[in-house]
């Protein structure tokens, strides 16, 4: 009885819509009245042949890879640094985490004002005598994806640092002390003890980061809007879905995009679990260490 309300709500607003997404995806449908124009797999064929979707998919995978490469090392380095005894550690930890708590809309609005061609960043560069470095950070298709990566890193790196710090503080102090007595230097301790033992935390973080990158929507849609994202080279599968589904009033098509997005995420998630996370289930403490 106790589960009843939760179950009903969950079935109605999570499971039912997900199932309906798969169903609507087979129709050409403007969203009014019951869908009648059954088109089979046509929507899916259109998606997979659409160069704008392929572009968006490539952007997604670029973001996946760059997120891991940019946030991972930075966050691990910061966590290792901050894991030492230091004054004001808790204040620093809070401040690094601030961008993560601010909403995507505030982040997007603030950054787009900061980065517009007559914005504060270009102004600052000119003041510093580096006027040659001023750029159109948002619209230049060669730069925009990197601009996006900077914003993403800024927003989400704090989360990674917090996770890694928690992971590091879970490592028994005795290990570090034993190594110190045996004459290991600070960096040897980090390299031989902290990093291998941080492995499971890093792998979980990477999983969350990958899934988040595949479903990225808010920041791109807010900063680049619905029209510019594709030309600036920052569109993602989710912005493609909203632009070509809801905004174009092609609801059947939009649902088909959602299904493709879901299947891609699912396959990536399953592969990751199978090949990466499985290591953590057999011998997390010994795996990876020499």
């Amino acid at each position: 009885m106790l589960t009843g309300p939760a179950l009903i709500l969950f079935l109605a607003f999570v499971i039912f819509p997900v199932v309906m997404a798969a169903y609507y995806g087979f129709f050409k449908w403007k969203g009014y009245g019951p869908p009648t124009d059954f088109v089979g797999l046509d929507n899916y064929l259109i998606i997979l042949k659409d160069p704008t979707f392929i572009d968006a998919l490539q952007h997604n995978f670029t973001i996946v890879v760059l997120s891991l490469l940019m946030q991972g090392p930075v966050a691990i380095g910061l966590a290792l640094l901050m894991n030492r005894k230091m004054r004001g550690q808790s204040v620093i930890r809070v401040l690094i985490f601030v961008p993560y708590v601010i909403s995507e809309v505030v982040v997007g609005t603030g950054w787009s004002l900061l980065l517009q061609s007559n914005g504060a960043l270009n102004g600052l560069l000119e003041k510093m005598g580096l006027g040659g470095l001023t750029q159109d950070w948002l619209a230049n298709p060669k730069l925009a994806i990197w601009t996006l990566m900077i914003i993403i890193t800024w927003k989400y790196v704090g989360f990674a640092v917090i996770l890694f710090l928690a992971g590091l503080q879970g490592i028994p102090q005795e290990l570090n002390e034993a190594a110190a007595i045996d004459g290991a230097t600070f960096w040897q301790i980090q390299w031989r003890i902290s990093l291998p033992l941080l492995g499971p935390t890093v792998r979980i973080w990477a999983f969350l980061s990958i899934i988040g990158s595949l479903q990225l929507f808010d920041l791109v849609y807010i900063v680049w809007g619905q029209y510019v994202a594709a030309t600036a080279g920052t569109s993602t599968m989710a912005t493609y879905m909203v632009v070509n589904g809801r905004n174009a009033a092609s609801y059947g098509f939009g649902n088909a995009v959602a299904v493709v997005l879901f299947l891609i995420s699912l396959v990536v998630a399953l592969l990751y679990q199978r090949f990466v996370l499985r290591r953590d289930t057999d011998g997390a403490l010994t795996g990876g260490a020499n």
Partner: protein
């Protein structure tokens, strides 16, 4: 951190030395920390300070400091009704979502954790599978569902789906908490004449308090910041939550950068206050949720 220092065996020579040496740590650490904190806060400072400038100041020198400080932007936002109306909408949406997620989640988790009934495993698996469905996938059918329920442009149209999507993580976090309550406590309470509901209220809720707080904060902040669902459901300005309001304000007043910055920075404040109040819980909750 504090406990590890206390627990450290004092007999080891190496640690006594290193403790002295590491009391302040190397200056490099502080330097790096300072640079990082500076980079993290600069954009936030830009937004807050920009609100204190005038448009001509911003046009002449986009990266300067306010001189003189001008409070007109903030004043205009704070005295206009739009901002407060949207704060109200956001508070209602986030508050109701949180309440619903916690109450329904506790009830369901309690049953899943402490009663044996047919289909329990399947039910738990179903909720857990919900973690695999992000709202992005379901957003279009959700929109159609909400529309056919006649809930467009109303806060319940946002609250109900948010509650539903908040349940999986809630249940995953709460079930272990509730399972950990020893059977003996329940038996003792029953012998003392405590009803099932009384046991729930007097024992279960206090004992699962840390989990409840974590879950509550996650759903409050999630709802407060959520963008995609309100974007689909709320099309009338009177129903806007703060994120939609910020975006609408930014495009409506795009020439008035100072005012946009003031609006944006004011809309950060509630989240920042909430965060600083519950910082430990949020951080603990997130790491717990991920590691658990």
């Amino acid at each position: 951190m504090a406990t590890t220092t206390i627990n450290r065996p004092p007999l080891l020579r190496g640690t006594a030395l290193s403790r002295e040496r590491r009391n302040w740590g190397s200056p490099l650490v502080y330097f790096v920390a300072l640079v990082v904190v500076g980079l993290m806060l600069a954009p936030v400072a830009y937004i807050i300070l920009g609100g204190f400038r005038t448009n001509s100041q911003i046009t002449v020198d986009p990266s300067g400091l306010p001189s003189p400080w001008d409070v007109e932007g903030y004043k205009a936002v704070l005295t206009g009704g739009v901002f407060w109306h949207e704060v109200g909408n956001s508070l209602i949406a986030a508050g109701t979502t949180t309440l619903g997620v916690v109450v329904l989640g506790l009830m369901a988790s309690y049953a899943l954790a402490r009663y044996r009934f047919r289909g329990r495993g399947a039910m738990y698996a179903l909720f857990a599978a919900g973690l695999m469905f992000p709202m992005t996938v379901a957003i279009t059918p959700l929109y159609i569902l909400i529309r056919s329920l006649g809930l467009m442009n109303s806060l319940p149209g946002v609250i109900l789906p948010q509650m539903a999507f908040g349940l999986p993580v809630t249940i995953i976090i709460l079930v272990p908490f509730l399972r950990a309550i020893p059977k003996e406590i329940q038996e003792a309470a029953e012998i003392d004449g405590c009803s099932r509901l009384g046991f729930f209220r007097r024992m279960v809720i206090p004992l699962s308090y840390p989990g409840v707080i974590t879950v509550g904060i996650l759903s409050f902040v999630g709802s407060w910041n959520s963008y995609m669902l309100p974007l689909f459901i709320l099309n009338k300005e009177s129903s806007f939550t703060l994120p939609l309001g910020v975006q609408a304000f930014a495009s409506q007043w795009s020439v008035d950068t100072a005012k946009v910055l003031a609006f944006t920075s004011l809309s950060m404040i509630p989240a920042l206050i909430f965060f600083s109040l519950f910082e430990r819980r949020i951080v603990g909750g997130l790491t717990g949720a991920v590691k658990g």
